[in-house]
Amino acid sequence: MSAYPWHIIGGVTADGLSFRTWRRGLVYTAGDTQDAKAKVSEPQDEFPHVFGLDNFRRGDAKVRTYILAAVLAHRDAEVDSVRETAVVDFGRQGCHEQNLNYFNDYREHGRHLGRGHLFVGTLPTTPPCEAAISLKLTGPCFYMDSLGRWPVLWDEVTNFFEMPGIRRVMICHYESDRLTVLLAEPGGTLEIPDDSGPENLARRIFRAE
């Protein structure tokens, strides 16, 4: 167990196309990503809908899930996005599937028909960056993997808050088609078991409330 000087204000876990927010318990289930986009975009309650989905179709299903989950994490926390948000994406899955999609397309169709957006999708930072673009998050953003050592992720969140001007951190974790996005803000003391990842942490915090 380690203690960290920040707290979680909301979040969401997406299992395929089923989204469930942690604090408010909002549930969105969709048949496809366009349907999910429509449902997430519907005005609900007083949450200010300051996000852009103009480029939603540019990414693959994983990218779209990141964008929608990032929007829903803010809705769950009942906050508008702020520019000074850092984004850290954590996990072991990387972009194996996207690598295969790009390279198979390239070999099948050749350079002239090879689609550039598939190549861009081979970068592990593409999904969190597309989420950052949709919400105009201009803080630091990178992908990390520490071979399963969760405290590395939590230390990085602390690290971000020590950087000048960072007001919020968006934590993403993707594994086996399951994405969790949490929003953290500085202040307080959060004790986290060393074997606890984002979804377990959210369960512990919000189920206990």
Binding site: F119, C129, P140, S146, T158
Partner: protein, 369 residues
Amino acid sequence: MDDRTPVIVDCDLYTAFGPGVEACWDGLLQNHAAFSDCSRFHNDKFSTALAAMAPGADVNGTQEIPGFFLDYLAPTAKKMPRDAELFLASTVGEIEYIDNTERRCTCDMLLERALKVCGKDRGRIVSAACASSNSAFVSLNRHIRSGRLDSAVVIGTDYVSEFIFSGFATLRALARTIARPYDRNRDGLLLGDAASIVNICSAKKAAELGLKPRAVLASGGMSCDAVHITAPMPHGEALSEAIEHALSEAGLTPDDIGAVIGHGTGTRYNDDMELQAIHRVFGERSVPMLSVKGACGHTLAGAGLVEAVVGVRMLETGLIPPQTSLVTPEPEAARYVSTEIRKLEKPRVLCMNSGFGGLNAVIILEAVS
């Protein structure tokens, strides 16, 4: 310098100039470009066959390049304690294994291999496209200054593969002739191999280990354009912010910087954006600037580490290498770049990288006083 100041105690490089820091440094000082025709794959369908390949790296086939590089870097890595954290900056890891159904070709496989070869117990990947190395440095800078880490080995490596080459060709980002960063007639980038390593620790740890600091990691800054996944912010505002964060953290002003090692890929968009960002921060001051990518290519995730090592040599020698492959400077670049060797007048070098996703990462290196 206080106990928690991060200091660089060792570094090494393997680039298209060959093994060793001095091979690359001499190549830069002599204004040489290390490009040649790439024969690792069929290149006849691309607009160029040129790339900067590390000599000897693919003697056993491209699948063994990462292993070759790690074997080369291992002796330097082993100079650090076993519990030093290994930071690996990579974009696609061992991508040449893409056809191997028994093995994923993601960065984590390369990290596991690096830990074994370099004799380290723990490590992490930091991946931020072409800003990966500098992002690792910025993260590490804070971890050491806060006391969460006291020593680390930072490795950055990427290499010229059909996967990467075809991808940049698809994006029409490859130069048709040669990469000419900051040149009026530049028309794209050329790719390169690189494996680089920097050993870094707190000043206190360096003293305990009996290691002599070669440079100080003074500060770092990061930002995201949040505008477009491939195109940089046209006027470079977010990159300026990252530079200003780095200056502010170190308590420096633009006048304190002796030189800038830019990302300088040679693409029109990147170089224009960078020049605007530099002008916004440095105003009318003609801060000396260069990009190593006109000499040893764009080495992707490894680029920041190559530039950091070059920055260390600039601080140690007081020299600024010429801008390789420059013929006619872009008008906005003319007051920053030169084809001559210049003197480093102030003991700090600012290194900056930008990558897909609009990611920007900047570090400032300082001479040991």
